[in-house]
Structure formats: structure tokens, C-alpha cells
């Protein structure tokens, strides 16, 4: 029979006569800083910063290893004896009891954070920190793109001479060519002729009425109530391939506009005359650039007085369908999302 080999357990017991943890040491922090420097250096300057990091890491690793193996090498371990403030005897407290070896047991004050409570808090806190670090950017990515970086798309509708004075057209056009068909929009356009520039009355500027076909109730497409096409209106329809994509213009003589979804009715200027809409139809802002009609973003309108170039338009910032811009109900929509 072979002599009994020491099992790992007995071997350890022969080295460590008492079960205890290695003494606390700060060297791992230096080692960690070295490792961080190596990694940062790989990004910034591998030659210089990574070398410094490696040196720090090696030095601290050696120190750490020496510390951890001090016991094995038989060096005496200097451990600061644990001290705790003794509470005053009296005030309803008994003197600290003594155990059999005669060592005084220390009364731990109730406010002291015990090891287990600290570890529990640290685990929860670290977990929350890690969870937050992951969740916040993801949640931001989910929500913010809907609100930030909304681009304004200018739509070229071609030369203004194509629009005969005082005639209505149903214009369909692509707002964002990169989006394609899904960004096809419709507007009712009328050339009002030249009118005095509000800023400089000595100058004449072209005037257009451009009404969005998005219903002010829930956003369905309103239709022109009236005959469409040259046969009935006497004005030719036309198509145009403009700088921003294809556009189509159908001549029309609208007596007003009606919504197929819930029956909202508007007059030719876009004022609500019946049904559930809460305001007049939105309008497109526009500019004339090199003789071409350029659509800008929409704005909301509570109502319009008058008609054509002389119309007085009660303008508001663009808001969604169904939102009141005037009257007492507007208090329900105090802050609107950013709009281009």
C-alpha cells in the first residue's frame, strides 16, 4: 500500500493553521489603473501611454503578488488590530460581556453598517448603475429620433407662370424623395396675382393660397367639392417634373372641401363650416425662388377672413390634427413637440 498522499485539503491545512482571508491590500487598484492605461493607450498612443500603463501594471502586479504570498514566504503579517469605540457604560447599557478567552466582545452600535448590509447595498447600487448605463442610451435612441433632427423639406413646384390667375389646382407632390411615395402630399393651390409686400408696400410680390389637404379633425385627406379637369373647369391640368420630383396639377373649381372620414366640411379658403374639425385647414408657407414656387413647411390656421391676396389669416405654429389653436381648449396643448 502506498503512503497516504496529502489531499489538497490537508495540504492547505498544514499551511494555514487558521482559516482567514488574506490581509487587505491596495495594490490591485494600481494594477487596474495600469490596465486601463494600456487600453486607453491602444486607442490614443500605443507607444507612449500603453508602455507607461504596462510598466505601472507590472510594478503593481509584483507588489500585489508579494503581498498575497507573504504568508507563504513566512513573512510576518502586520495587521492593524480592529478597534471600535466602546460605548459608555450606563445609560441603560450593560457592560460588554466577555467570552471564555477573556476577550471583550465589542458592542456594535446600531447605526453601524454591517458587512452584509454594505454588500447588499453595493450589489443593488452597482446593478442599478449598470442597468441605467445600458437603459438610458437605449431609451434615448428609442424616443429622441422622433423629436430631434426633423428636417424641413422644400418642395419645388415649378415656374409660377404655369398657374393661371385665380384658378385652383389640386397639386400632388413628393415631399421627401428619399422616402418616396409615402411622402406624397396634396395641396390646393391658387395664384392670387401680385400684391403689395407687407414689409415694403412700394414693392409688388406674388401671392399664392396653398391649403394642405390634411383634415383638421384627424388628418384624413379632404377632397375638393367641385368639378375636376379641363372639360369642366376650362383650365388645363398639367404635370411637371420639378427639381424635387414629379408633381401633378389638376384644375378644379372647389365650392369647398369635404373629408371622407368623418364628414368635416370647409369653405374654399379652408374655414371650417361643418362637422368635427376644430379649426381651419393648415396652409403651406412658400417662397418664390428664381421664379419658381417653393413650398416650405405648414402652419396652422384658426380661421381666415376675406379671400385671396387680401385674406387675413389667423396663423399659428403648426400643430397636429384635432388640436385647438384658439379658444379655451388650447390650454390642453400647452407644449407641442419641436416642428421644423
Amino acid at each position: 500500500m502506498e503512503p497516504e498522499q496529502p489531499t489538497p485539503d490537508t495540504e492547505r491545512d498544514s499551511l494555514h493553521t487558521e482559516a482567514h482571508l488574506p490581509p487587505p491590500t491596495l495594490w490591485p487598484i494600481g494594477f487596474a489603473i495600469g490596465v486601463v492605461l494600456i487600453l486607453v493607450g491602444l486607442v490614443i498612443n500605443p507607444l507612449l501611454i500603453s508602455t507607461i500603463g504596462a510598466a505601472i501594471a507590472i510594478v503593481f502586479a509584483i507588489l500585489w503578488a508579494r503581498d498575497a504570498t507573504a504568508e507563504l514566504r513566512g513573512e510576518p503579517i502586520v495587521v492593524e488590530p480592529e478597534r471600535r469605540e466602546m460605548t459608555e457604560a450606563g445609560e441603560g447599557m450593560t457592560a460588554p460581556p466577555a467570552d471564555q478567552q477573556g476577550v471583550a466582545l465589542v458592542q456594535v452600535p446600531e447605526t453601524a453598517v454591517t458587512r452584509s448590509v454594505f454588500l447588499e447595498g453595493a450589489t443593488l447600487g452597482l446593478g442599478a448603475a449598470i442597468g441605467g448605463l445600458i437603459t438610458l442610451p437605449v431609451a434615448g435612441f428609442m424616443v429622441l429620433p422622433s423629436f430631434l433632427g426633423q428636417e424641413q423639406h422644400k418642395v419645388d413646384l415649378g415656374p409660377i407662370e404655369k398657374f393661371p390667375l385665380g384658378k385652383w389646382f389640386i397639386a400632388t407632390f413628393i415631399v421627401d424623395p428619399t422616402q418616396g411615395e409615402v411622402s406624397r402630399r396634396t395641396a390646393f393651390i391658387r395664384n392670387n396675382g401680385n400684391t403689395a409686400n407687407p414689409q415694403d408696400p412700394s414693392q409688388q410680390v406674388p401671392s399664392f393660397t396653398i391649403i394642405s389637404n390634411r383634415c383638421a379633425h384627424l388628418g384624413c385627406p379632404v377632397q375638393a367639392n367641385g368639378p375636376i379637369g379641363q372639360k369642366y373647369t376650362g383650365t388645363p391640368s398639367f404635370k411637371e417634373h420639378t427639381l424635387t420630383g414629379p408633381a401633378e396639377f389638376k384644375s378644379v373649381t372647389p365650392a369647398g372641401y369635404g373629408c371622407p372620414c368623418h364628414g368635416g366640411q370647409y369653405d374654399p379658403e379652408g374655414n371650417r363650416i361643418a362637422g368635427p374639425p376644430v379649426r381651419a385647414l393648415d396652409r403651406y408657407a412658400f417662397e418664390i425662388n428664381h421664379g419658381r414656387l417653393i413650398l416650405l413647411s405648414t402652419y396652422s390656421v384658426s380661421h381666415v377672413e376675406g379671400t385671396g391676396a387680401q385674406a387675413k389669416i389667423y396663423k399659428y405654429k403648426s400643430v397636429g390634427p384635432g388640436e385647438h389653436v384658439d379658444g379655451p381648449e388650447q390650454v390642453f396643448y400647452p407644449i407641442n413637440p419641436p416642428h421644423h
Binding site: 429620433p145 411615395e181 385627406p221 397636429g320 384635432g322 396643448y333 407641442n336
Partner: protein, 288 residues
């Protein structure tokens, strides 16, 4: 106690015993290591009031409808393309084309899409019937209030599934229904416009609305529903099934002395256990 005489088992009985041991061995193995078999037995073979009603199967029916939606949906997702881009060959949107492809070209695609499309209504209808049963039976009362609340959340989630799924065919109906639906949300006071813009993924409906609705429809909301159904079932098992209102057993009364389980019919009858199954209840490691 009288002495029992045992006759020698016949060959057929021995074979049967052998087969049962063969079946039970892997089950025992699993049970000993996980307790899963016991858990399933606890879930499926629990006591219910003697006078329960067929109406009380509506919840299971709604669950089945949800499972049908989940399975058909997973398979539809293998073929559906959530893209608002235009197919250059046909001029139609890619999403719509993929739906046409599923319905007209793929083997049994019409059936699976039909199951998903009609099953959606079945799921909602069954949830409402189940809710009606719970209401009329008074099964929402103490201590089951929380389960009513969870059930309402499942109903809301189910309707959100309906709303987000309606857009996916990307035809005129889908588009305008979503325009109206989102703008309805947009008219809610204070946060409505923000909610609408979040749902749209911008100021206007675009391809991003489609992809976002697709993600909500097949990942976010089903995940929430599965979690809520788990809670719902947990509470059903924990609190038990209510008696119908016409039950003779008044609530809160001490239960009558139970008959031996083997005399009771139906689901509460324990599964016959062959001799090899005794380890099912043994302590881990205490196998005989």
C-alpha cells in the same frame, strides 16, 4: 389484516410493466433533477370547485387564441418585409408586395395569414367574453382584484397588437386607419401630441412608422403580454378558481371532508403510477 395472495403476473402484464418503466424512467430522471414533472402536475391536476361551468374555459380559450397568434406570427415574420420603399419593377410598396406574396404565392400562406388575421379578432372577442364571465360570476372580488387589473392590461395590450398589426399590410385602409388612430392619440390633452409623434417616429407617417409598428407588434407588445399572462396564471393557480354564483358552497365555508382522490372523476384523478414511479416523490438523492 388479511393476507393477500398474488398470482404470478402474466406475460402481457410483465411487458406492460416494462413499457411503463421505460416511459417513467426519463420522467423520473427529469423530476429528480428539476421538479418540473411535479410542477406540471401541480399546475394541471389541481382541485377546482365541483360545480364549475363551461364558461370558465373562456380564459383558456383566449390563451389558446394568443398562442395561435404567436405561432402564426412567428412564421409570417419569416416572409414579411416591413419596408415602405417602392418596388422598382411593379411600383408597389415592398411591404404590400410581401403580403401579396405570402397570400398568393407561398404554399399555405393564405391559410397562415388568414389564421393570423381572423385569429386576431378571435383573441379580442374571447378576451371580452372571458372578461364578461369574470364580471358576471363576481370572480373579480377579493382576493382576485389584482388579477382583474392584470387582465385589463392584457386586454389593452391585445388592442395595441390589433392597432399596430393593422398597419403592416401597408395598403390604403391600413395607412389611413393608422393616420386616424395616431391622430386620435394626438388629441389627448398635454402629452397627446408627443405620444403621436413618438408613434409616428417623426412629424409625418413614413417608412419609420412601419418599422416601428412592426417592432412593437412582434417584439415589444407580445413580450409584455407573455409576462402579464404568466402573472395572470400564477394568480389563478395561487388563488384558485371561483365557484359559479349559483354554487351551493357558500364562500368562506369550511370545505366538506374530501373524498379519496381516486373516487373523484375528471382532472383531479391522479395519474396512475406504476411501481417504478415511487421515486417521483422521493427526496433528491433518496432514490430507492
Amino acid at each position: 389484516m388479511a393476507t393477500t395472495y398474488r398470482r404470478k403476473p402474466t406475460k402481457a402484464e410483465l411487458r406492460r410493466q416494462k413499457m411503463e418503466e421505460l416511459v417513467m424512467y426519463p420522467l423520473d430522471w427529469l423530476e429528480e433533477r428539476s421538479g418540473l414533472i411535479g410542477g406540471i402536475r401541480y399546475f394541471l391536476f389541481r382541485n377546482v370547485p365541483a360545480d364549475i361551468n363551461w364558461m370558465q374555459t373562456l380564459g383558456s380559450a383566449a390563451l389558446t387564441a394568443f398562442l395561435v397568434q404567436a405561432i402564426t406570427g412567428v412564421i409570417l415574420a419569416m416572409y414579411y418585409v416591413p419596408s415602405a420603399a417602392t418596388d422598382p419593377h411593379t411600383g408597389n410598396p415592398v411591404a404590400w408586395e410581401s403580403i401579396v406574396h405570402i397570400t398568393d404565392d407561398l404554399t399555405l400562406g393564405w391559410l397562415v395569414r388568414g389564421m393570423h388575421r381572423w385569429g386576431a379578432s378571435v383573441f379580442i372577442i374571447l378576451m371580452f367574453l372571458h372578461m364578461g364571465r369574470v364580471f358576471l360570476f363576481g370572480a373579480y372580488k377579493y382576493p382576485r382584484e389584482l388579477n382583474w387589473i392584470i387582465g385589463v392590461l392584457i386586454l389593452v395590450m391585445g388592442m395595441m397588437e390589433g392597432f399596430t398589426g393593422y398597419l403592416l399590410p401597408w395598403d390604403q385602409t391600413a395607412y389611413w386607419a393608422t393616420v386616424v388612430g395616431i391622430n386620435l392619440n394626438g388629441t389627448a390633452p398635454f402629452l397627446g401630441p408627443w405620444l403621436a409623434q413618438f408613434l409616428r417616429g417623426g412629424q409625418e407617417i413614413s417608412g419609420e412608422t412601419l418599422t416601428r409598428f412592426y417592432s412593437l407588434h412582434m417584439l415589444v407588445i407580445p413580450g409584455a403580454i407573455i409576462g402579464l399572462i404568466t402573472l395572470h396564471l400564477y394568480l389563478v393557480i395561487r388563488l384558485g378558481v371561483t365557484s359559479p354564483p349559483w354554487s351551493k358552497d357558500a364562500a368562506g365555508m369550511e370545505p366538506e371532508e374530501e373524498e379519496p382522490a381516486r373516487l373523484r372523476p375528471g382532472l383531479t384523478r391522479p395519474v396512475p403510477r406504476p411501481s417504478g414511479a415511487s421515486a417521483m416523490q422521493a427526496e433528491p438523492g433518496g432514490r430507492e
